[in-house]
Symmetry: C2
Subunit: 587 residues, 2 copies
């Protein structure tokens, strides 16, 4: 909501008078009538950092609920040194008094990871989630120093939660983590079904099977808008059930002769169970390596999403057992540097060491961007003589997201008046809209920041709000456009020259410029690059006019220009230059 | 050849006396007898920067030939700021007097990219290649300021080249660039077949079809060692011919309504022709965008690997033609930032602009590591309303490398005494050896630096030579372990604090420390991080003993410790700290 249509709405200090005056300025007919809007702040136009808003009310006075608040992971390419990335909640943070509650669909990091860090900015709203998810959200709040009491556990439909003009129910759906739920959001303008992440798995092993009847019952009352996962819209074959990989994994583990290790996402409790059971069936003891995995199993047991997990032995006890009787489940399927898989690939970890004749199974898919890290680990294991098995042939992993035929089946089950794709890059959203429209369901590509009016018979983008990314960096939250990360990238690409110049109280250079280089090579010959730059700077400073020497700005420009020119001439690089000018004032 | 077995062999200044004395120290029987060895310096244990040596002679006195000298591409993750990466040729550079010649299998960058930069270090050897390849190699030499006259053009077998104890012939094989050749290397110890990169394509469109009879003829004389491409050892289905995508591409282009653009590797001349012909068949004019593509077509025509290319129009002329009558072929299938595809995705390029209803075809595979860049471009195009088509369904691209069934077919055609896999990561090599050994062909995993003795009945790793990577960085070549790139990575991850301290001639701080930060955020509050660090440094310097102030080393440690502690306390980061200590000596 930009200045044109939402000027008066500057957050929680909004007055009735202003609201009224804005109502009078409405350019569209019905401007002051209540409307139902959808605003993605994260997750639409990218896969990761999901954050969606629904609003209902008169324009500028809508009451909101938020669905999910997740993170995405940094990369050296674009966000070196950053710890976590999340959607900038600025729009709703400024209207925190109008945020009724947050609803969480499931416990994946890209849906819950930002809740702790942003809870304060959002005005400490109540967070509704089912028990397994709630346990993970509480931990996120605790880790960020927020109050875990904000989390309220909710059962699935028919239980519902009232939140301002919204009545929200959790509708179970299958995914790669237990207890995933779609949200059934009833509003005065009609029913929305927000799928969350999902697949259509009628035999998921752990967690609720996809229950077509329950979905048809929800749909029977009429669905205005289906807001829907688009991750696998380019996968043309029907999705496969978790059940289909159980036997291949069992056979694989049974065929192994040495130690067996396997990795998958820690949160994929069904897969952990499949892997553990394959180990047990092969007469092996199961060991969980990596905190996240042990925690996930504990939470799954405590929250009741699994009644039992195969018996495990501690890493300490396992060390004394025969290697060919062990089945190790390790965190780090995405090549994470500090996780158990990476550690096992590099050497010993908690006393375990992979050796010639062992087997390592990647029961996982590599997320785009992690290919190199994962391949590095696979090769390290190969160098140790370990047989590395991955999902190249589709035997040992299934996706947690619905493929195109499943998306189409969902369209048919829900039969919504309109479709809004989410959880996808722009091309995924675009393709998903096309598929829906070919079947006569109006849709719209609504990337982050789009304000979509769902009140009418087709979705309409009526406005655009500011969105962006914020970074957790050390203990701070920084903006993506603060320039800090840009500076890091430039230093990494170009190297850095730090120059100290000391001027006396007459603004004359007190001694030669002092230069240090960082991330730069020295040219051939006896002199270092720094010495060459020092010499050229001394010459430049000697020639410099008083006007230049008097002005920090001009002096810095001179230093920068001189240092760059020297570096370019000698080593062909144009480094970042950081002048440090000290003016002595003799007291 | 490490100190134990090759101590006396310190390069071209080796004397007969020394050689004799070393012969006498041999630990293996037959040590001084002539042997045939294979040493990969690059490309074995990675995909990229190929560089292989063959040697024949008495140990320590072998005469060598080199096969290929390519580059690999840097990444922000591990090599920020670096321009190109190549294998460190140190081992053979120190023995350049024993290098007879270089043979080049084909003109891909990972096989020729380093020839110009390393030619001098290698003692300016003659480079043998077939005409199309030779034209590209000459350009590499010119670009690096070396002499293109070093390149000697050679025809295919039965033509051969004598190089010391080696007789080398070029045996045509199909790949994704014209004129690829295996090398048939005859030595006193038997025949080696070095496949280079290959696939088994009997209908490649451009370039020589795979000619099984020619290969059988070479094999008929007996092959001691088959040294073989392993890239696609994990692909279980038989490889597909370039011919199978011709019709799908033609249909796709015929179905398009707006402008059509397509990208592929510029060097894939067959694909360029397929794409251009599809455009012509659909009544479109063909435009080549991107220098590399135009150059590739020119060289292909000049060297005779194609007799004709469909007519093209210049970008200038095309701008005045109806958009729906254009077929643009653009460089940059891997998401390269400055290539035509990236430019078209971002906005106008040479007057061309993609619009709603246009089509963009990626007739290519994304090389691991480039996924994010390619997806970014696809999404930018999607945002413009362009239909982005990729090879998700296998319709519009085929690989240039032999899949597992093709590798096995090759084993059967050549029936070598032994197999050495190359052109693969460690896991590829390992798997390839296992496949060969299951069929009774002895093999060995020989990663970079392995000295493999091929003289006996099975390959034997007898030594290890030093290998590594060197980087072209600006105008310089730097070592991977020089610490320069490591410093860049650290700055990018941790940020940098530059500290200037000025001490008078009594070694007392002359004024407050001066601090600049780079790539670091400021803490909440009024004071910048730099000011906090300055205050803490002043306190620390005031407390510091004369001993510390007198010593640059101790003073630097104090500065580093203090600055890090402050940053960690205030913003949770532990930055790199670069102290610049100026000691004034009043003359």
């Amino acid at each position: 909501m930009n200045d044109r249509t939402d000027t008066q709405d500057t957050g929680r200090h909004q007055s009735g008078r202003k609201a009224k005056s804005r109502g009078g300025r409405g350019r569209r007919s019905g401007r002051s009538r209540e409307r139902l809007i959808y605003i993605p702040l994260g997750g639409a136009g990218e896969i990761g950092m999901n954050m969606y808003l629904y609003g209902y009310g008169a324009p500028g006075r809508e009451r909101f609920i938020m669905v999910d608040a997740g993170v995405t992971f940094p990369s050296m390419d674009t966000t070196p040194g950053v710890d976590l990335i999340m959607a900038d909640p600025g729009f709703i943070a400024e209207r925190a008094d109008r945020l009724e509650a947050i609803f969480v669909t499931h416990a994946h990091e890209d849906h819950i990871g930002a809740l702790g860090m942003l809870h304060g900015q959002l005005g400490y709203p109540t967070i509704h989630a089912r028990p397994f998810t709630a346990a993970h959200v509480r931990r996120k709040l605790e880790e960020a120093g927020a109050e875990p009491e904000a989390v309220v556990e909710t059962g699935p439909l028919p239980e519902t939660v009232e939140a301002g003009p919204f009545t929200v129910g959790f509708l179970p759906v299958s995914h790669s983590i237990p207890e995933s739920s779609a949200l059934v959001i009833d509003t005065p303008a009609g029913r929305i079904v927000h799928t969350g992440d999902f697949k259509l798995d009628e035999t998921p092993g752990v967690g609720e099977p996809f229950d077509e009847e329950a979905w048809r019952a929800v749909a029977a009352e009429g669905v205005k808008a289906l807001v829907m996962d688009s991750t696998n819209v380019f996968s043309l074959h029907p999705g496969r059930s978790e059940a289909v990989i159980r036997e291949p994994i069992r056979e694989l583990v049974a065929s192994a002769e040495g130690m067996v290790a396997a990795t998958t996402f820690a949160s994929n409790v069904a897969r952990l169970k499949t892997l553990a059971e394959a180990g047990i069936a092969a007469g092996r003891k199961v060991v969980l390596l990596g905190r996240a995995m042990r925690r996930m199993v504990d939470v799954a047991l405590q929250s009741g999403v699994i009644e039992s997990f195969p018996p495990t032995v501690s890493p300490e006890d396992a060390r004394d057992m025969p290697r060919d009787k062990l089945m190790v489940l390790a965190t780090g399927s995405q090549g994470e540097r500090r996780a158990a898989t990476a550690q096992l690939a590099q050497g010993k970890y908690l006393g375990f060491e992979m050796r010639e004749g062992d087997m390592f199974l990647f029961s996982s898919k590599t997320i785009p961007g992690n290919e190199i890290s994962v391949a590095r680990i696979m090769n390290q294991l190969s160098e140790k003589g370990v047989d590395v098995i991955d999902d190249g042939e589709g035997l040992y992993h299934v996706s947690g997201h619905a493929n195109r035929p499943d998306l189409e089946r969902m369209h048919e089950i829900v039969r919504p008046e309109m479709l809004i794709p989410m959880h996808g890059e722009h091309r995924h959203l675009r393709r998903h809209v096309r598929i829906a429209e070919e079947k006569g369901i109006p849709g719209v590509v609504a990337p982050n920041g789009a304000v979509v009016d769902l009140t009418g018979t087709r979705p309409e983008i009526v406005d655009q709000v500011e969105t962006g990314r914020i970074y957790r960096d050390g203990s701070e939250l920084i903006g993506a456009f603060d320039g800090i990360v840009r500076d890091r990238i430039r230093m990494a690409l170009n190297g850095l020259v730090a120059v100290a110049v000391v001027l006396d109280d007459a603004d004359d250079p007190l001694r030669e410029a002092w230069v240090e280089t960082f991330g730069l090579t020295d040219p051939e010959g006896e002199k270092e690059l720094a010495e060459h730059i020092e010499a050229d700077l001394d010459a430049a400073l000697t020639r410099a006019s008083d006007k230049v020497l008097d002005s920090d700005e001009e002096l810095e420009a001179l230093i920068r220009r001189t240092a760059r020119k020297t570096a370019e001439r000698l080593i062909g690089k144009r480094p970042e230059v950081r002048p440090v000018i000290s003016r002595l004032t003799m007291a």
